[in-house]
């Protein structure tokens, strides 16, 4: 072997080690002595979690720790599954008032072709802040218009946006207008009565669009079988709405008033769609209809006023509890980038107004995992799932709780973030 080749081998050997260390956590980690809240199943006092190859190898009270494992003493701490944000703008917004830093809203009404993952700024300053509060995954959604685009489900760790992908195209986002009643009730300035939004026209428009998409598909198929036949002209909108129409891509419908929710339920049924609802502020009024439809609900931020006075000052707070008791599957969301870290506090507030505390925790862990179809790999501390684990000094839904460690795919993540950077810098003043 020549000297040069030897050097190359050495360099390769070194870098290989570095790369593999980044790509595959080969070591075994044992988190010992924590109070484990697996979310699925009973809590385990003084339990142990074994992490191997990025997955949970074992969870239990008396679990044998393999030799060579890195032991993390967690006595006095709680171990939770990482939380999942049902709807956020993480990575699409830096400074919300500075449009140059905002990428979550495309111009125009109908944009099924745009994909949030393709704009996701993985090194957004908001992601580490959310992550260091125990959030390990999030739906990142485009917004605006009638069809906003395709949302993406990401884990909050990775050196590139693509590394963060759990589901590249998670759902097609469709939005029905909200109830413009805020001004006339709680808005503060007070202006007349509420204007209840009416989605009937929009549903008709979508039905027409879906119908056209189906025919477009048929013409494409015909042309494929008959080379002599003319191909249909390429139509971007129809092309990108097809997966929804075919039932392959979930559609997330942003819907708000009771009337519109019922209309949307019927629409989903008529078109045979795989659907999730988002928002659903008046869902409590039609809880039984929602239960029967089996459509799960992502609750919008609780940091909002009730849409109309008559709903009551606490309607947004009570809503999740009412839906949950009626048997509707719910999950919480931050609807934010800069305050995405508040996800657990939405859940806690709903618990303050009637939602069972255990259900509240599920609604930020296993329920969003189920809703997004990733419950086999996350959402609870169970053997075989990804080692997305949060170690805290208390209830993660509580404001005062401090998060000590956050593991994503078995990797301990960096707990530093923009807040801490600036704090540390100015602490140096003395």
């Amino acid at each position: 072997m020549t000297k040069r080749m030897f050097l190359v081998c050495v360099i390769m050997g070194l870098t290989a080690g570095w790369i593999s260390a980044q790509a595959q956590p080969a070591k075994v980690i044992a988190i010992r002595g924590a109070k484990i809240i697996p979310v699925v199943g009973d809590d385990i006092e003084g339990g142990t979690i074994i992490i191997k190859d990025g997955k949970i190898e074992a969870v239990g009270k008396d679990v044998a720790i393999p030799s060579g494992a890195e032991i993390v003493e967690a006595k006095g701490l709680c171990a939770y599954p990482g939380m999942i944000d049902g709807y956020s703008f993480l990575g699409l917004q830096e400074i919300s008032g500075v449009s140059a830093t905002v990428d979550n809203r495309e111009t125009g009404r109908i944009n099924p072709q745009v994909r949030a993952i393709e704009a996701l700024r993985y090194d957004s300053m908001h992601i580490p802040i959310a992550r260091s509060n125990g959030i390990t995954a999030a739906l990142v959604a485009p917004t605006g218009g009638l069809i906003s685009g395709q949302s993406t489900l990401i884990k909050l760790d990775g050196w590139t946006n693509r590394e963060m992908v759990i589901k590249s195209q998670a759902a097609m986002q469709i939005e029905f207008p909200g109830i413009r009643g805020g001004r006339g009730g709680f808005g503060g300035m007070g202006r007349g009565g509420a204007v209840t939004a009416d989605a009937t026209r929009l549903i008709a428009e979508l039905k027409e669009l879906f119908k056209n998409a189906r025919y477009y598909q048929k013409r494409k198929e015909f042309a494929a079988k008959n080379p002599a036949a003319a191909q249909p002209e390429f139509q971007e909108t129809l092309e990108f709405i097809l997966p929804v129409v075919r039932g392959e891509l979930t559609v997330m419908i942003s819907v708000h008033s009771d009337k519109d929710i019922k209309a949307a339920i019927q629409f989903v049924k008529d078109e045979n769609l795989k659907a999730v609802f988002f928002g659903v502020e008046q869902g409590w009024k039609v809880a039984d209809d929602l239960k029967k439809s089996n459509i799960p609900v992502i609750i919008s931020s609780l940091y909002d006023m009730p849409p109309v006075w008559d709903d009551g000052y606490d309607s947004l707070f009570r809503n999740p509890g009412v839906l949950n008791k009626a048997g509707v599957k719910i999950a919480f969301s931050s609807v934010s980038a800069s305050v995405a870290k508040d996800l657990p506090y939405h859940a806690a507030k709903a618990a303050a107004f009637g939602l069972d505390k255990k259900e509240a925790l599920k609604a930020v862990t296993i329920y969003p995992a189920e809703i997004f179809g990733v419950d086999k790999i996350m959402g609870s501390l169970e053997k075989g799932k990804a080692a997305n684990i949060v170690l805290s000094d208390g209830d993660i839904l509580e404001t005062r709780t401090n998060i000590k460690k956050v593991y994503i795919d078995g990797q301990e993540t960096d707990m530093s973030n923009r807040y801490l950077e600036l704090l540390e810098k100015f602490k140096k003043r003395g």
């Binding site: 909002d304 303050a352 100015f426």
Partner: protein, 442 residues
């Protein structure tokens, strides 16, 4: 016989002394068996508070109930001082005189709107008092006003006259109208459009006020002299200059909307140059960068917990701002600046325990005694002490817990928000809506 009568008289006298105090129905209430967080005098695990005619008369265990008084059972609940939001814009018919840069003659106290349902929103979150203010459209906006959330009372009864008179200043992006696009042929931009222009315009107005005060001083001296000149007329009374004169005389304190560290320091410099008091900086997202300067100058801050990154000047706001500054000796209050967030003031304050390491009581202080001191009303509100006004909120869990909610809000002994009543009304309204309509076929 005389001895018997004498004894009777003595007994009557003694009985009168130990009998429970008489009271009128209004403004009197007895809250029993709650965990009392006084804020300034510790925690009473199980205690009672007696309010008579709007004033806290007694805090202790097993207080006997005066006859006929309204009794609230707070067993298992937390009894805290009514919360004080030191920066809002509710209950006003208008918040900005944006047509010009300098408008201290525009006084929000003249446009109180007691019909604003945001008052009810505030009450539902345990807030009993707010400092409602000008917006941030002007370098010098105008006087603000402190209100009690007495829903249903006439507007003049909401005003808290004991509070310090405050004058709203603003610096930075809003004043510079940074978010406005200049259109060709459209209205020209309003001076100032830079932070240096903002400081310059404030300095200009202070200098003008000095001249105004001098004019009046000279006139008064001449008038009082032995031989006043023949055609002596007073100078023109200028409402704008009157307010600024009062600021320079120390009768009004400045509350300044600021984000950046530099503009804060420079504003404090202006205050020193002209001898006026900066009571607090509003929002102050970079206060942690100059905590020492703020503490030394006794300038307080009134901030958010973590609503940041919506403007460039808010891009370096950190959730540790409140807690860190508090630990450095700055008087910190947390505000809502929002008709929505005003219901969650206690949640926001709670965040300072995690981001900043404040204790429960320190966090609670951020929305009780601290804003009271900033507003100059700490003698009458801000903590649960005998002699203070009966402004009380009752929560079902510790107010710093994310699981808490406000059950009742009391101002000067009168109940202004009662969740139990609200739930009952909802129940009845629901039943009425479900009932079959009259006149139709069964």
């Amino acid at each position: 016989m005389n001895a018997i009568i004498k004894n009777l008289l003595i007994s009557a006298f003694v009985l009168a002394l130990i009998a429970p105090p008489a009271f009128s129905a209004e403004g009197s209430i007895l809250i029993k068996n709650g965990t009392i967080l006084t804020v300034t005098k510790g925690v009473m695990v199980k205690g009672d508070i007696l309010v008579i005619n709007g004033v806290i008369k007694q805090i202790g265990e097993n207080i006997p109930a005066p006859e006929g008084i309204k009794v609230i059972d707070a067993s298992g609940k937390y009894v805290i001082p009514g919360l004080i939001d030191s920066h809002t814009h509710i209950a006003l018919a208008g918040t900005n005189e944006g047509s010009e840069a300098i408008t201290p003659e525009a006084d929000v106290g003249e446009v109180v709107n007691a019909d604003d349902v945001s008052i009810l929103t505030a009450l539902s979150g345990g807030v009993t008092m707010v400092h409602t203010m000008h917006g941030s459209a002007n370098p010098i906006g105008g006087p603000n006003v402190v209100l009690k959330m007495k829903w249903g009372k006439p507007s003049e009864e909401l005003i808290v006259h004991e509070a310090l008179r405050t004058l709203k200043f603003a610096l930075g992006e809003n004043v510079k109208q940074s978010s406005r696009t200049i259109t060709v042929g459209g209205p020209p931009p309003r001076y100032p459009q830079t932070r240096m222009g903002t400081n310059a315009i404030i300095r200009r107005e202070m200098l003008k006020a000095r001249v105004y005060m001098e004019e009046w001083g000279r006139y008064n001296k001449l008038k009082a002299s032995k031989t006043p000149p023949k055609n002596l007329l007073p100078p023109r009374k200028d409402l704008r200059m009157e307010v600024l004169s009062d600021l320079l005389r120390g009768k009004i304190v400045a509350r300044c909307h600021d984000y950046q560290a530099t503009e804060a320091l420079e504003f404090m410099g202006l205050a020193k140059e002209f001898g006026f008091k900066v009571q607090a900086l509003e929002h102050a997202w970079e206060a942690y960068k100059i905590a020492d300067e703020l503490a030394a100058a006794k300038v307080g801050i009134s901030v958010f917990a973590d609503s940041w990154a919506y403007k460039m000047e808010a891009a370096e706001g950190i959730a540790y701002d409140a807690g860190y500054c508090a630990k450095k000796g700055v008087l910190v209050s947390i505000n809502s600046d929002s008709g929505e967030r005003i219901r969650r003031l206690f949640n926001e304050a709670g965040k300072s325990m995690k981001y900043g390491g404040l204790t429960e009581n320190e966090a609670l202080s951020l929305i009780t005694i601290n804003p009271a001191i900033q507003l100059g009303v700490e003698k009458i509100v801000g903590s649960l002490e005998v002699g203070k006004q009966g402004d009380i909120a009752i929560f079902n869990e510790h107010p710093m817990s994310a699981y808490t909610r406000c059950e009742m809000t009391i101002i000067e002994g009168d109940i202004y928000f009662d969740r139990a009543e609200y739930l009952k009304d909802r129940e009845e309204a629901y039943k009425k809506a479900q009932a079959p309509k009259k006149g139709g076929r069964p």
